[in-house]
C-alpha cells in the first residue's frame, strides 16, 4: 500500500512538470527563427497564399492562445497532427516509441550487465583490471556515440557484412532480424555508459568492502563469495542503480544521433526532422512522451531503492 501511495504521489507530482516542460518547449520552439507557414507555402507563394497558410495553421494567434489551444486538446488526449504529413501525432509517436524503447532498454541493460561485471571483476582482481576499467571509462566518455557508430558500420556492416548498416526490423516481423538490427546501435550507445557503470560499481564495491560490518563478517569466517554476492553487492547496488537511471535518461538524448546514423525510425530521428521543419505539434508531443519516460525511469529507480534498502521503504 505504501508503494502504491508512493507511485501515485510521484505520478501526480509529475503533472506540473509535464505542464512546465510543454510550456517551455512551446516558448523555445517559437523563439527559434523560421516559420513553418513559410516552409509549407514555399518559395513561390504569394503573400495571400502565405497568409492563408498562417491562418489555417492558427499561427496568426498570439503565442499564449496557441499554447492554450494545444493544451486543451492535449488534455483530451489529442496531440494534433503533423503540420507537414497531416498524420496524427499520437499515431506518429506510437510508431516511433517501440524503436527508441528497444534501443534505450537494450542499451541500458547491456551497459548495466557489462558495467557491473567489469566493475566487479576489477574490484576483485585489482591491479591491471583497475587500469583497464579506468582506461575504458576514459575511452567510453571521450568517444562520441555518433563517431563510434560510423566506425562500427564501416567495419561490421560495410567490410564484414555481419550486421545491417541501417534500418530497424520490428520484433513482430522477425525477432532474429530485430536483434541483429539492434547490435551496432546498442554497442554504440552502451560503450560509454558501461564504462561509467563499471567504474561506479568498482568504487562502490571497494567502499563497501571497507565497511566495519564486512570486516566483522570476514573475521567470523564467512566465505568471500558469500560476503560479495549476499552483502557487498546489495549495499553497493544503490549508487549503481542511480547511475543506471541516469544512463537511461542520457541514452534518450543519445538516440538522436544513433537513430540518425542508423536511419532508425525512433523518437530521436523524429524530433530531429520535426525541429528542422518547425513541426510544433510533433515536437510538443515527442517532448511530452520523453518527459513521461524520464518520470517513469526515475520512478523505477525509486522503486529499486525500496527493494534494495528497507530503510527507503520505511521512509
Amino acid at each position: 500500500m505504501a508503494v502504491f501511495r508512493m507511485v501515485l504521489r510521484r505520478l501526480l507530482s509529475s503533472i506540473p512538470l509535464l505542464f512546465a516542460v510543454s510550456a517551455l518547449t512551446f516558448v523555445l520552439v517559437s523563439l527559434v527563427p523560421g516559420d513553418p507557414a513559410r516552409t509549407i507555402a514555399g518559395e513561390h507563394a504569394t503573400v495571400a497564399q502565405y497568409t492563408a497558410v498562417r491562418l489555417q495553421m492558427g499561427l496568426n494567434q498570439s503565442l499564449p492562445l496557441q499554447y492554450w489551444h494545444w493544451l486543451v486538446q492535449a488534455v483530451h488526449g489529442n496531440l494534433g497532427s503533423s503540420l507537414f504529413s497531416g498524420e496524427p501525432v499520437t499515431q506518429l509517436l506510437s510508431n516511433r516509441l517501440p524503436v527508441s524503447l528497444s534501443l534505450i532498454i537494450s542499451g541500458t541493460a547491456v551497459s548495466g550487465v557489462l558495467g557491473v561485471a567489469l566493475g566487479l571483476f576489477s574490484a576483485r582482481r585489482g591491479g591491471f583490471m583497475v587500469k583497464a576499467v579506468d582506461g575504458l571509462s576514459l575511452f567510453g566518455l571521450g568517444v562520441p556515440p555518433f563517431w563510434l557508430a560510423l566506425v562500427l558500420v564501416e567495419v561490421f556492416a560495410v567490410k564484414l557484412r555481419w550486421f545491417p548498416a541501417i534500418g530497424y526490423v520490428s520484433p513482430a516481423t522477425d525477432p532474429a532480424q530485430w536483434a541483429r538490427s539492434l547490435v551496432l546501435p546498442v554497442v554504440s550507445l552502451s560503450l560509454g555508459a558501461s564504462a561509467i557503470i563499471a567504474k561506479q560499481t568498482r568504487d562502490s564495491v571497494l567502499d563497501t568492502f571497507n565497511k566495519d560490518f564486512i570486516r566483522v563478517m570476514q573475521a567470523n569466517g564467512f566465505s568471500q563469495r558469500s560476503i560479495l554476492y549476499r552483502h557487498v553487492l546489495k549495499n553497493a547496488a544503490i549508487p549503481v542503480v542511480t547511475i543506471l537511471g541516469v544512463v537511461f535518461v542520457s541514452l534518450l538524448a543519445a538516440t538522436v544521433f544513433v537513430e540518425t546514423v542508423f536511419a532508425m525510425p525512433g523518437l530521436g530521428l523524429l524530433i530531429q526532422q520535426a525541429t528542422l521543419q518547425h513541426d510544433i505539434p510533433v515536437i510538443q508531443g515527442a517532448v511530452l512522451y520523453i518527459t513521461l519516460l524520464v518520470v517513469l525511469a526515475n520512478l523505477l529507480v525509486d522503486l529499486a531503492y525500496g527493494l534494495l534498502d528497507p530503510r527507503v521503504r520505511a521512509a
Binding site: G42, H44, S85, G86, L92, I166, A263, L269
Partner: protein
C-alpha cells in the same frame, strides 16, 4: 497510334532540398503517341534512399526535385520527360499551342485510363486537377499566367493564359509535378492526400508497410494502363539523413541508389557503384537590393559589377565542388532556354578592376553590408568564400546563416538583407523570370526590382514562336548578367550512385536530371 510533333517546347526540372533549390530545363520536341499495354515482368524490390522525407505526398504540396520520387510512383502526369530529354505522351496523347502568342494550349486525354481508386481519368477530372494545382500548388507562380483550364470535350482539355506562357508543356511532365493528375476523390478531401495516393500512377502507396518519415513502400497498381512500365514488385524509399550512412546502405546492398555529394563520389566509385552526374543547379550570392534601400552602394551598377569581378570563381568551384562544379556568371545551365555560353565568363577574376570600379562609384575604401545565407548544399561555404574575396577589395560583411529553408525564406523576404546566398535549380528563362527578374516580390527578388528594359525583353521572349525563343531568352540572360543583379559563382552537378549490377535505365543526363523511378529504372 498517331504520331504528330507539334512544336518545340521546354521541360523543367526544379530540384529543391533544404539548401539547394535546383532545376533544369531543356528544349525538346513534343510528340504524340502511345505505349502498348503489356504484362510487365516485375522484379523484386527496388530500394532507393532519400535524404529527407517528403514535404507532402500531395503532388501540389510536394517539393519539386527532392520529393518527385515519392509522388511520381503514384501519380502519372499528362506528359513524360524521357531519358533523352524528349517529351513523350503519358496521360495526354497529343498536345500543343493553338495559334500564336503562347496563350492557348490543347491536350487530348488518353482514353480508358482509371485512377487507382477505380474512377475514370476524364477530361473533366484532368481540368479539375489542373485548376486545383494552379490555385493551391506550392509553385503557383509557374502557372500564374493561366486564366482557365476547361474540358472542351470528353477527352480534350484546353488551357488558356492571360499572358503568354511558353513553358506549359514543361510544366505538365513528371518533373514539374503540376501535371500530376489527382482523382476527384482526392480533390474532394485534399487533407487526405498527405497520407494516401489518389493518382493514376504505376504504383500505389502501401500504407501498412509505410512509416512516415522513415520509409515509404509502394506496390504495383493492378489497374495501371501500361503494365510494361511496372518493373518491380515493390518499391521502397528509405529516408537516411546522414550522407555517410546513406552511402553505406548502398555499399552493403541494403539500398540500390541514392543522390550523393561531390566528396562521396570517389568512395562510391571505388566501392564498385556506378556514378552518373549532370549540371543541375547554380549557386552564388544574389544582390537583391538593387535600388539601395538598405545598402546604398548596391544601387550603383559599378559596385555590383565590382563585386562580380572580385570573385575568383574558378578557384572557389574547384575547392568546393571538385570536378562536379564549373564557374559561371549566369543563372542558367547548358541545354536550357536562356543559357548563353559566351555569358559564362562576363566577369573574369580581376580584383584591380573591382577596386577601380568601386573607386569610380565613390567607394574607394569599400563599404559594409549584411548578408544572409543558408546551411547545406555548399551554399554557406560558397558564401563565405565569396565574402573573403570581397574583403580583399574592402567590402566587409556581417553574415547570418540560416539552418532551415523556412528560416531562409523568412529572412529573404524580410527586406533586411541586401545580399542573399542562394542555391537554385536551373530552369528555362521564362520560369527564372518569374522568380528572379519580373518586378514582383519573391524570395529571389524581395525588393521587387523593376527594370522596364528587362521586363520588355522577357515579355517579347514569352510570346515568341518556338524558333525565335532561344535567341530572345539569351538576350534577356545577357542583359540581366550585364546589370549584375547577382554574383553567380558556379553551376553544380546532381550526382547519383547506384548498383550498376542490379539496375538498368538509371539515366541522368543534361536532358533529364531526375532518374525516372516510376517508368525507366528496371532490374538488370
Amino acid at each position: 497510334m498517331s504520331k504528330k510533333c507539334k512544336r518545340q517546347v521546354s521541360g523543367t526540372v526544379l530540384l529543391r532540398g533544404l539548401a539547394v533549390a535546383a532545376s533544369v530545363a531543356l528544349t525538346a520536341t513534343g510528340c504524340s503517341g502511345s505505349s502498348t499495354g503489356d504484362s510487365g515482368a516485375a522484379g523484386g524490390t527496388l530500394t532507393v534512399v532519400s535524404a529527407s522525407p517528403p514535404a507532402s505526398l500531395d503532388p501540389t504540396k510536394a517539393n519539386v526535385g527532392s520529393d518527385n520520387w515519392f509522388v511520381n510512383l503514384t501519380y502519372d502526369t499528362l506528359l513524360r520527360l524521357g531519358p533523352n530529354g524528349q517529351l513523350e505522351p503519358d496521360l495526354a496523347t497529343t498536345w500543343g499551342y493553338v495559334g500564336t502568342g503562347n496563350k492557348v494550349f490543347d491536350l487530348t486525354i488518353r482514353p480508358g485510363v482509371t485512377f487507382s481508386d477505380g474512377s475514370p481519368v476524364t477530361a473533366q477530372a484532368v481540368a479539375a486537377s489542373l485548376n486545383y494545382a494552379r490555385r493551391n500548388g506550392l509553385n503557383v507562380s509557374w502557372t500564374s499566367a493561366v486564366s482557365s483550364v476547361t474540358a472542351t470535350g470528353p477527352d480534350t482539355v484546353q488551357i488558356q493564359c492571360a499572358t503568354p506562357n511558353p513553358d506549359l508543356p514543361g510544366l505538365l511532365d513528371q518533373v514539374s509535378l503540376v501535371g500530376s493528375v489527382i482523382s476527384p476523390a482526392g480533390l474532394a478531401d485534399p487533407s487526405k492526400m498527405g497520407t494516401a495516393s489518389y493518382g493514376a500512377g504505376p504504383y500505389v502507396l502501401d500504407a501498412a508497410k509505410t512509416v512516415a518519415g522513415d520509409h515509404y513502400t509502394y506496390s504495383p497498381n493492378p489497374d495501371y494502363w501500361d503494365k510494361s512500365r511496372i518493373h518491380w514488385k515493390q518499391v521502397v524509399i528509405k529516408i537516411v539523413s546522414n550522407p555517410d550512412s546513406a552511402l553505406q546502405a548502398v555499399q552493403t546492398g541494403e539500398a540500390d541508389a541514392l543522390s550523393i555529394g561531390p566528396s562521396q563520389a570517389a568512395t562510391a566509385v571505388s566501392d564498385g557503384l556506378t556514378v552518373k552526374y549532370a549540371p543541375v543547379a547554380f549557386v552564388g550570392v544574389n544582390l537583391v537590393d538593387r535600388d539601395g534601400a538598405v545598402s546604398k552602394p548596391l544601387a550603383s551598377l559599378k559596385v555590383r559589377q565590382a563585386l562580380n569581378y572580385a570573385v575568383d570563381r574558378t578557384a572557389i568551384a574547384k575547392a568546393l565542388f571538385q570536378q562536379y562544379g564549373a564557374p559561371t556568371d549566369e543563372i542558367s545551365i547548358p541545354g536550357q532556354l536562356g543559357y548563353a555560353p559566351d555569358d559564362d565568363n562576363q566577369y573574369p577574376y580581376d580584383p584591380a578592376k573591382a577596386k577601380q570600379l568601386l573607386a569610380e562609384a565613390g567607394y574607394p575604401n569599400g563599404f559594409s553590408m549584411n548578408v544572409e545565407t543558408q546551411q547545406g548544399g555548399g551554399i554557406d561555404l560558397l558564401t563565405q568564400a565569396v565574402l573573403q574575396d570581397w574583403k580583399q577589395i574592402g567590402v566587409t560583411t556581417n553574415v547570418t546563416t540560416d539552418t532551415t529553408i523556412g528560416q531562409w525564406l523568412s529572412n529573404a523576404v524580410s527586406r533586411k538583407f541586401p545580399a542573399l546566398g542562394f542555391g537554385y535549380g536551373a530552369a528555362p528563362a521564362y520560369l527564372l523570370s518569374l522568380d528572379w527578374m519580373l518586378p514582383h516580390a519573391t524570395a529571389f527578388n524581395p525588393f521587387a526590382t523593376s527594370d522596364p528594359a528587362l521586363t520588355s525583353l522577357l515579355a517579347q521572349a514569352a510570346a515568341a514562336p518556338a524558333a525565335q525563343q532561344p535567341a530572345l531568352d539569351q538576350d534577356a540572360m545577357r542583359y540581366v548578367v550585364g546589370q549584375a543583379w547577382f554574383v553567380s559563382v558556379a553551376r553544380l552537378d546532381g550526382i547519383y550512385a547506384y548498383s550498376g549490377n542490379k539496375l538498368t535505365g538509371f539515366d541522368v543526363s543534361q536532358g533529364n536530371l531526375l532518374p525516372d523511378i516510376a517508368w525507366t529504372i528496371a532490374p538488370k
